[in-house]
């Protein structure tokens, strides 16, 4: 595998505000790479500088060893882009949109190419439908296949599943995996942990314009060093000292009304917790044990929870 995307010290300033702060990373060919972060973290700005839409104030972007700046025109045929919240011409049909965008790349789609794109997005039935009759998921999938009309090697997807229901989201993931199967490199942004965990081979967690961690999702989780997360609500708050006696390794986080305890030995911790609670006359409710997820990685790295 070879490096196809090389980003070095990429920086963007808006007035005095550093939107993207010296971000560096590399992506290998055929990877699905995700930017994970809350709204306003700098994901979109970063992506748009890589696509040639937004001029960086510093740093370099190399796509297949071609520098995007100062001449973004050089990479236009190399990349396919689905912009955040794209809408289409309402008075054109799905097929007409694809034909139009292909022609903007100087290409004429053959009947087979068109069929392939439509079937990839599950839009065969909608080929002659006006775009304003499509559902949210269908529109997003149309945006994705519109990014493919020039047969790009690198595909940028900015929040491809935002606002979609879980089923539609999974349908989009299938398309993205299919693209990977064809050797494409995919760079996407998301603020869904589940999406980053399930879809991305590597994830960069970005917060306040900086990459705070970058690795495979499982690696990031493992690096937390925790085997389980125990969450519960108690009739009285538990003292920290008391928690230490439970053998919980990490501290306690108050999340809304409940409490969360991280532990390396869930069985022992739960046993001790229930025992102690009985002794102290504390009622434990909604006891829930789960494996740590990217959410927890994010929480421990940024001190924030991700929300839609």
């Amino acid at each position: 595998m070879s490096v196809i995307v090389d980003v070095q010290e990429l920086t963007k300033r808006y007035g005095g505000f550093l939107a993207v702060n010296k971000v560096s990373f590399a992506i290998e060919q055929g990877e699905i790479f995700g930017f994970l972060g809350p709204n306003g973290a700098g994901k979109t700005t970063c992506l748009e500088m890589m696509e040639g839409l937004r001029k960086p104030d510093g740093g370099k972007v190399l796509l297949k060893d071609i520098s995007v700046w100062p001449e973004p025109a050089k990479v236009k045929n190399l990349i396919g882009v689905q912009l955040q919240s794209t809408s289409f011409y309402e008075e054109l049909t799905v097929k007409e949109i694809l034909v139009l965008f292909a022609s903007l790349y100087g290409r004429k789609l053959s009947g087979r190419e068109l069929d392939n794109l439509l079937s990839m997005a599950g839009l065969e039935e909608k080929r002659n439908a006006y775009t304003n009759s499509l559902s949210g998921g269908q529109k997003q999938r149309l945006a994705i296949i519109t990014a493919l009309v020039n047969e790009p090697e690198i595909i940028f997807l900015d929040e491809p599943t935002t606002g979609l229901d879980p089923q539609a989201r999974r349908r989009s993931w299938e398309i993205i995996r299919e693209l990977q199967g064809k050797g494409k490199t995919i760079i996407l942004t998301t603020h869904y942990m589940e999406e980053a965990e399930n879809l991305c081979e590597r994830v960069a967690i970005i917060d306040q314009g900086k990459i705070v961690a970058i690795d495979q999702p499982q690696e990031l989780i493992d690096q937390l060093g925790q085997k389980a997360k125990i969450s519960f609500a108690s009739s009285r708050p538990l003292a920290s000292l008391f928690l230490a006696e439970l053998g919980a390794e990490a501290g306690q986080v108050n999340s809304g009304e409940g409490q969360i305890v991280f532990t390396v030995d869930p069985a022992q911790t739960i046993g001790a917790l229930l025992e102690k609670a009985k002794q102290e006359g504390i009622v434990i409710k909604n006891l829930h044990v789960s494996s740590p997820s990217l959410d927890d990685v994010f929480l421990s790295l940024t001190g924030k929870e991700l929300r839609d």
Binding site: K12, Y14, F17, A19, V20, N39, G40, G42, T44, T45, E48, E51, G52, L53, A73, K76, N77, I79, V81, L83, S85, T86, S87, F88, Y89, E91, L92, E96, V99, L100, F101, S103, L104, Y105, G106, K108, T146, N150, G209
Partner: protein, 365 residues
Amino acid sequence: MTFWTLLVANTRLQLRNRSSLFWHFAFPLVFMVLFGLIFGQGAGMLNIGMVTDNSVTAQHFEAAFAEIEGAVLIQGEEAALLEDLKDGQIHLLVAFRAAEAGQPLDVELFYDQNEMLASGMARSMVRGVLDGITKAVLAVPELFRLKETVISTEVLNFMSFLLPGVIGMSIMFSALFGTAYPLVTEREKGILRRVKLTPVKTSVFLGAKAVGMTVIAFMQAAIIIATGISLFDVQILGSLPAAAFVTLLGALMMVSLGLLLAGVAKRVESVDSIANAIAMPMMFLAGTFFEIDGAPDWLQSVAGILPLTHLNSALRDILIRGQELADVLPALLTMVAWALVFILAAAYLFKWESPKIQGNNRKAA
């Protein structure tokens, strides 16, 4: 190929949108039919008073008017006719004043400003007749030829006067809205940013829009002319290719103004108000429905430089006065000059991204 696909897509967008269909094609026809019903046939015979000096010119004028339908010439004393004018008995008074030998004849027009429409129609009619006489005299001094040329003013009834104005007005409204509205919408929806990511040249992308609007302008002109001929007996005297050339130039000029408007308007909602603020006064000042020679001098000077004024007058001179492209060269050059000014200003102001989107990203970044 890219250009062709874009042209087809743009045309589909225009033709599939009901409101743009209405504005392109139904709106001018509604104008034609309404004006035709109100002023077209027999309704409102124009009475024109005449004080003659018995000069040759005055005699030709009389002879020419005898041929005109829809207007009656009433001869009399100046003082009595002025009273008739005040009473509304006549719509216009033409006074021929004897001139010293070798001096041009003084022709004075009196009219009531409260009777804008009737006096405007009468004035265009009289002016047409006088133009015809001048032209005939200058071109062919033989007197017996004179009448033949003068006959051309026969068709200068109100509908004939109106028709070129309606074409000019329709081109203006369609090209202004039809260029600016889609562009600003595309910008707001982020389609322009998406297009910017493709290798398509700006000139090709915008050129396809300009050509698309020109095609629509041709369709409008054809429909309006056909309606005028079939329903209102308008006689087209000039060459249609020459009129088509003026239509092409006019459409390109108005598309350029539309591009400029797309650069100025930040949001879709402001397209409407800015376009109307430009187009509405221009429609009235540019002599679309009547001559504005009753207006104050400064306003006439303003009207004299407006883009639509030149489009209307070139169309009118060619279509119903039978002039040729060479005769309307000043108007054509003025239109080219306006188009260049608009294009340069548009190139300076045009943005691919809506300020709203940038603002959002700034916040989101």
